[in-house]
């Protein structure tokens, strides 16, 4: 069970890094007006 959780943790971190990478690439390429609109909702 411990081994399985360790493997799961490793996989989760890998997927998490991918999520961060894609969001980082989106939010760093925003133009001025788009930046202001974030969170305006």
């Amino acid at each position: 069970m411990t081994d399985l959780l360790e493997k799961a943790k490793k996989a989760l971190i890998e997927i998490h890094q991918m999520q961060l990478k894609i969001l980082k690439s989106k939010f760093t390429n925003l133009q001025g007006s788009e930046k202001e609109n974030i969170g305006e909702n």
């Binding site: 081994d3 399985l4 959780l5 493997k7 799961a8 943790k9 490793k10 996989a11 989760l12 971190i13 890998e14 997927i15 998490h16 991918m18 999520q19 961060l20 894609i22 969001l23 989106k26 609109n37 974030i38 969170g39 305006e40 909702n41």
Partner: protein
């Protein structure tokens, strides 16, 4: 006479070299491709390809709650609608939402709710629509991952991102990221879904019997 296609079960679930039938190691994930901002009409959206799974997620909100009696005066509500397209699986899926879809909607909602600051949006709702275009096992994990991405794309304040993966045992071996391969009923497969906030596990969904 109706055409009957019998399920073909593999005789073995592992190759001679110890790898899985699709060529992956026991700890190896299927190829993952993510994209955000794919639906213009949504406040936030994301697309995920996880192996052969293809899933869209769209987020709307905060917006007025319909029907009004569902609104909560002290906090916002999160509603998740998971749906599989009729053509997403080999056998045609009935278009009406089934019990499985309702259950997965609830599971994904339970995973996402703790990471949102719903108390900042009283009387409103956030709606997450998840559409599975192609399914190949592990859609509930992929849905959770893509929904979190769509929420982040909408610019909604979040405590963290949620990621999710299925792990389990096949023939006594621990494996990560189970695919939708047909399993012979006599072969044992145990799936444990882990939905974690970074490295903390906060939701476990146990399917089958753990040994």
């Amino acid at each position: 006479m109706p055409l009957v296609i019998k399920d073909v079960y593999p005789e073995k679930l592992f190759r001679k070299d110890g790898k899985r039938l699709d060529g992956r190691d026991l700890e190896e994930l299927r190829p993952i491709k993510m994209e955000v901002g794919v639906i213009d009409n949504a406040d936030g959206s994301a697309y995920l390809e996880w192996g052969n799974n293809k899933i869209y997620a769209a987020v709307y909100g905060p917006r007025e709650v319909h029907p009004h009696h569902l609104a909560k005066p002290d906090r916002g509500i999160l509603r998740v609608f998971y749906r599989m397209a009729t053509f997403s699986v080999f056998d045609r899926k009935r278009p009406a939402p089934g019990r499985r879809e309702k259950e997965i909607s609830m599971v994904v909602g339970d995973c996402l709710e703790p990471i949102l600051f719903l108390e900042l949006y009283p009387g409103t709702s956030f709606e997450v629509f998840i559409e599975v275009i192609d399914a190949d096992g592990g859609t509930r994990c992929a849905s959770t991952t893509v929904a979190a991405l769509a929420l982040a794309d909408a610019g909604i304040p979040m405590k963290s991102l949620v990621t999710s993966v299925a792990v389990g045992k096949i023939d006594g071996k621990n494996v990560v990221d189970l695919s939708g391969i047909k399993i012979k009923p006599v072969m044992q497969i145990y799936q444990l879904l882990l939905h974690g906030i970074t490295t903390k596990f906060h939701y476990y969904n146990l399917m089958g019997k753990w040994i």
